[in-house]
């Protein structure tokens, strides 16, 4: 079968940063046939020339924790709008979690998501399927068949794998397929009816707290089971200082584990709930300054491997309810990169190389994807970042169907300027 030839693209004068190659220099990058073809190529009649002067050329960003909401919750997001939001946020590949209705626990479900993503032709979409049948936490889903259909990892999304025996079996069973289990650590008995971080402010406001212990206890359990089984465990949504320390110690002991933190958990505290704004209601909750500092330290020393958006779009009519009725979640794809730049790189907490590592090759490794690098021969998934652009978050800046963000009105620095997927320009700022 003859594929139409893809255009030859030259990206000129950009600062290429590729953590895998330990590369950080200004150069020209040539893309041919959807692959990275060569460096230091001169302008020579290429089909498309992209000027990246004063911009950063990064391997395409990868987000391993995205809710696309389709099927079932199309009022929040569809695969088309969610992947458009991902592209605009600079992400060339995302992994979507299966808290859909029905949940993605069958081959047909996996294939539906893949087909919708192909139709949308935005970013690459990889499917994380359910660990348990119907996401009920009782028995294993048909993991082998789901792998056959293309699932690249397993999670029950925001529902913690409550039964430790089920998690043990899942970790053991997935060893056969070399796939990761992603778990959201939260002991639900300790967070019943919780709305915000359990602390001084929750006491003052009379809002039920989600204590850090609830996260820490399951983190500790999960680490122990990962150690015992040798399975591939990825901890989602780490937000507590003690959990960061537990993971650090486990890694020192040699436990195979990865962990993620979301931008809102390193940039906002529970003080945001003073306004009773339901867009600040997220799980894990916005915690205190001490937890933020611990998460930043965890990113600095590699305890936290991945920055994931934890994109959870929710329709405005759901968020307009009373705070206890309003669902958890932040529409995060389109602010994630700017928050990494504004909150981590600009203040000097992380350098570009280490920040991009957590947005590219590290999530690729968690998912077992041969992506996240600009090595010659790699898929030409490229994000050209304008690190200087100052912008204000408004409703109209969102391509996501939902703009449930606590950052409305905030001025942020940096954005994706041009995004290439498989050697095609799929997004460009106007």
């Amino acid at each position: 079968m003859n594929h139409p030839t893809k255009p030859r693209i030259l990206i000129q004068n950009g600062r290429v940063i590729d953590p895998v190659q330990k590369l950080d220099r200004v150069t020209n990058l040539l893309i041919e046939d959807g692959k990275i073809a060569a460096y230091d190529v001169a302008l020579n009649g290429q089909d498309v020339v992209l000027d990246a002067t004063d911009k950063i050329i990064s391997p395409g960003l990868i987000d391993l924790h995205v809710e696309l909401r389709e099927p079932g919750w199309e009022e929040d997001e569809t695969i088309a709008t969610g992947t458009a939001a991902a592209l605009a946020g600079g992400f060339t590949s995302i992994a979507c979690i299966p808290n859909t209705d029905p949940p993605i626990d069958t081959q047909a479900g996996v294939e539906f998501v893949q087909h919708q993503a192909e139709r949308a032709r935005n970013c690459n979409v990889h499917v994380l399927a359910c660990v348990s049948k119907h996401r009920k936490g009782e028995e294993l889903a048909e993991i082998g068949m789901l792998v056959e259909a293309g699932a690249i990892g397993f999670t029950d999304a925001e529902r913690p794998i409550h039964n430790p025996e089920l998690l043990r079996r899942a970790l053991e069973y997935c060893l056969m397929f070399d796939k990761p289990i992603l778990n959201h650590p939260e002991v639900l008995e300790l967070t019943h009816d919780g709305i915000m971080h359990d602390g001084l402010l929750s006491m003052i406001l009379g809002l039920k707290g989600l204590p850090t212990e609830a996260e820490d206890m399951m983190t500790a359990r999960d680490l122990r089971l990962a150690e015992a089984t040798g399975g591939r465990l990825h901890l989602m949504n780490i937000s507590s200082a003690e959990s960061v320390e537990l993971i650090r110690r486990a890694k020192t002991r040699g436990v195979i584990v990865t962990a993620e933190v979301s931008p809102h958990n390193f940039s906002l505290t529970d003080e945001s709930l003073r306004s009773f704004n339901s867009n600040c209601k997220v799980n894990p909750p916005l915690r205190d300054q001490r937890c933020i500092e611990a998460c930043v330290a965890g990113l600095q020393d590699g305890t936290l491997d991945v920055i994931a958006s934890s994109h959870a779009p929710r329709a405005s009519e759901k968020k307009m309810q009373e705070l206890d009725q309003a669902p958890f979640g932040i529409s995060a794809l389109e602010t994630a990169l700017a928050l990494v730049i504004s909150e981590l790189i600009e203040p000097g907490h992380l350098d570009w190389d280490s920040a991009l590592e957590k947005l590219t090759v590290n999530p690729a490794r968690v998912l077992g994807l041969a992506k996240g690098t600009l090595e010659i021969g790699a898929d030409a998934d490229v994000t050209i970042i304008d690190p200087h652009h100052q912008w204000t978050v408004t409703r109209s800046s969102f391509r996501s169907k939902s703009c449930n963000t606590p950052y409305l009105g905030r001025s942020l620095k940096g954005r994706a300027d041009t995004v290439l997927v498989g050697g095609e320009v799929r997004f460009q700022v106007s």
Partner: protein, 320 residues
């Protein structure tokens, strides 16, 4: 024939609020303005019995998303004592069960040319969200365990009627602090006016974190009792519990019920208060509730005075 008094026609310059959502954000001066105004209204209405005419042509809507009889009746009567019309809206649980958000519900009611919305809701922050989303004045009649500002004010007014100065008084709030909006409003109001506040109750319902705000935390009522000028006995809110915070009501009563025996060890002029409804035999025994130190029924009358004052102040500052 309505009764008017010249001196309450003028709202103090320092009062600029058109909502009353909590006591945490009020200054001592603002608290004093409300209390003084309430005192004058009480006098002008001869103990909240007569009608004034200061809010004729105004309509007050009571939006009660949570069951209440006494607070709602108190607000209704206060509004009518000032000459305002009232409308009543009550619904239990989330308005979304009927397909609209509570903000939609409030906007619909506001469209009937309402001047003040009095809102009671089981969820903290609901009055604040309404104030952000509708044009008219919003008065909180209690938002979950967060605050119940008029209850805090009427408690403080009652104390003030019996003691000239709040500064230096020791006031203990006893019982379920964790779930009590009355406790939170009392804590803020009393502290701002210079009183020493103790929160006392089972350690599962009284957080140590209150100390960070300058509140004394005690678990043994008998230890603090001799020092207290006022005891405010809060109801155990069984309806807000998930796991029972103490083993039995019997054990609670043994440790915390104010009874005749404990009264003998209290100060001679101690005031016994309760926001009601009281569980007789749980937080207070009948001999104490009905005894000479009890000011529980004064609180009810003062509730009317405080609510008249608040209705008048929030509408007045908007129209100024």
């Amino acid at each position: 024939m309505s009764f008017e008094l010249d001196e309450i026609d003028v709202i103090p310059e320092s009062w600029t609020r058109s909502h009353l959502l909590d006591l945490e954000s009020l200054s001592a001066e603002e608290l004093t303005t409300i209390l003084d105004t309430a005192g004058r209204f009480k006098e002008a209405t001869r103990g909240c019995k007569k009608k004034l005419d200061v809010l004729s042509d105004h309509t007050v809507a009571n939006l009660f998303f949570e069951n209440s009889t006494r607070t709602r009746n108190s607000f209704s009567l206060a509004a009518r004592r000032l000459g305002a019309d009232t409308i009543e809206f009550s619904s239990s649980g989330s308005s979304l069960s009927k397909g609209e958000t509570f903000i939609d519900t409030a906007k619909n009611i506001e469209a009937m040319n309402i001047d003040v919305v009095v809102v009671r809701h089981a969820t903290p922050g609901t009055p604040h969200l309404l104030a952000q989303n509708i044009e008219c004045s919003v008065i909180s009649a209690g938002d979950g365990p967060h605050e119940h500002p008029t209850q805090g004010l009427l408690d403080i007014l009652t104390i003030r009627e019996h003691r000239v100065n709040l500064a230096g008084l020791t006031v203990a709030l006893v019982g379920d602090i964790a779930h009590s909006r009355t406790a939170r409003s009392n804590i803020w109001g009393l502290m701002k006016l210079g009183a020493h506040v103790i929160v006392c109750g089972p350690s599962t319902l009284v957080s140590r974190r209150w100390e960070e705000l300058g509140v004394e935390v005690a678990y043994n009522l008998d230890d603090i009792l001799p020092r207290c000028d006022v005891l405010n006995l809060l109801r155990i809110q069984f309806e807000r519990q998930y796991t029972r915070p103490f083993p039995s009501v019997r054990e609670y009563a043994l440790l915390y019920a104010m009874n005749g025996d404990r009264m003998r060890r209290a100060k001679d002029d101690i005031l016994i208060m309760a926001p009601g409804p009281i569980n007789r035999g749980v937080e207070v025994t009948p001999d104490v509730a009905d005894g000479p130190h009890s000011v529980i029924l004064d609180q009810v009358t003062n509730g009317l005075a405080v609510r008249m004052a608040v209705l008048w102040l929030v509408t007045g500052s908007r129209e100024r």
